[in-house]
Amino acid sequence: MKKENSRRSFIKNISLATFSAIALSGCNGAAFDQFLQKNFKTLSKKEKDRLIKELENKYKEKYGKEFHISDKPALEGTLFGYALDLSRCVGCRRCVYACVKENNQSREPQIHWIEVLKMEKEKGIDFTHSTAQYNPEKVPEDGYFYVPVQCQQCKNPPCVKVCPVRATWQEPDGITVVDYNWCIGCRYCMAACPYGARHFNWGEPNVPVNEINTEVHFLGNRLRMKGVVEKCTFCVQRAREGKYPACVEICPVGARKFGNLLDPDSEIRYILENKRVLVLKQELNTQPKFYYFFGI
């Protein structure tokens, strides 16, 4: 009787051990760590460094490329602002593709952070009668003007307010970012955004390996995964290094201006003080830091 008992308990123990072994091997360590990953904002400096080191290794293994992942915080005394000259924009969409390349946006399924809308001069800024689907031989077309729309980096961002898990927030320099490791993909922010600036990875994102930009920011243009939301960050990886965003640099007609709103001598401040400036959907009180103006 006693013997049988011990045998039974032996069988019980061994099956338990096997079960836990299978369970453990089923989800390998890295996947398990990823599952338990904390919100980026709550991590200590040490934890952030470790996380980034691991990510760099993972990317190297996956793409065979050396990545530099930055988590550079906002610089003191900066508040980024953007201005776009509607009288200059010709609707060439070079900004759209420069942005895709710089920020590792998925090519298929296609994600564009900038959408350029063609509007009739007669109607003024009128989204209802605008179209993003235009394909003429040459731009600009007579009778039309173009309004590129991207994240307006609101001072009062509705997307941040609605996120149920605090996966998106406004940094001290005014840039709203997303923690792709924390986003649950509920898309409430997309419903809340009045500018269509947020984009979802409906499928596995796809960037050709030879076109990957390896200079990335953890909260910006690093490679995203399926099921998370992404958006324009004013090229946080460039802006915090004192460079212009990719869309500003590429614009062939100089319609795009970027700078520090807190610096009284900046070009952006000059525009705000001397030009006729407007923001989109002012009535919603989102207070964009993305201004449209008429330079000529």
């Binding site: 399924p109 609605v162 809340a192 269509g196 984009h199 998370v228 919603l284």
Partner: protein, 409 residues
Amino acid sequence: MNFIRFIRECIKIIFRGSKTYYAWLIFLLLLLLWGGYGYLGQITTGLIKTHMRDSVSWAFYIGNFTFLVGVAAAAVMLVIPAYIYDWKPIKEIVIFGELLAVCAVIMCVSFIIVDIGNPLRFWHMLPFIGTMNFPSSMLSWDFFVLSIYLIINLFIVTYLLYCIFYGKEYKKSIVLPLVLISIPMAVAIHTTTAFLYNALPGRVFWNSALLAPRFLASAFCSGPAILLILFQILRKTTKFEIKDEAIWKIAELMVYAMFIYLFFTIAELFKEFYSGTENILYWKYLLFGIGDHKEIVFYSWSSILMGCIAFILFLIPKTRKNFLTLNIGAVLIYGSVYVEKGIALIIPAFTPDVLGQIYIYTPSLTEIRTAVMIFSIGFLLFTFLSKIAIAIVFEDYNIISLKPGKKIT
């Protein structure tokens, strides 16, 4: 130990039943498999399997969620008239109403889980372990009130059945306050769900103060419709006693709800169409289509038509008191509210999108299959729970009848 016994006996009941019962279970299981296989495709390739895209980023899933919150809310709100008009089987009405509420809330949560891109990260939404954005995000509020509602109802129902099973008198001091809490909670879950949409000034289609009142009115149409039919089935097949008058009273209350719902909708339509601002575009898309895009016009008008027929059937005393027309009306109003919440509430808010672009959305097969999966889980659960409740409440399935000694004598 007693409780484990209770659970064990409950599970035994599930497996006992007639051939029809088993046929029903197999039917539901087949649906579950068919739906589940579709959902598997979504899990592996992502939400790209749905027809949702950046322009229409919420659609059929969240619509189903909204509808079911209404069902969950109305099931419990029916306790108020049962109490006021002193319908005899109030305890039974509480039990079955709350069972329905429990199943509906579980289905709600399932619809949220299939709708999010990273279901495994669901725990990020929990307080303390995750970083719940409370009180700022209405979604966290909604999750919060739904969880409490689920726990309260599950507790009341289990406690009542447990007491009946053991032949004990239940403690009024425990049940009564909880039932009294669960009623305002029922109002709260549907109001919070309405606020979820209302809270987005960028979506003018939803940005109306009438949204929450309309939600409640429509819920009071669809929720009781299910119970109305359930009570008749119970009356036919078990010892459950409910007078015709009580059933007609429910129908009468539904007429009031339908009238209020109709009135709110007309008020909304008047405001939109008479003022004729740009915002009318969304209503136009819903009711007439924009240009050649008439994809959801069929849905909206079929919902309106079903609702109106049901209203007339319920309004005329003769058809209200005829069980055939009454049941037709109940099915029609259920269908009407389902289409209204599932399609007509969500899609027009995104078409045209915030930048004026039109993306045409209709549910994909994957979305329909996933919804079928969740509905069959819900029905399965409700079948099991009702079966347990019927056995314990009406068929004297209790600790005494289970004693071996008793059986011999």
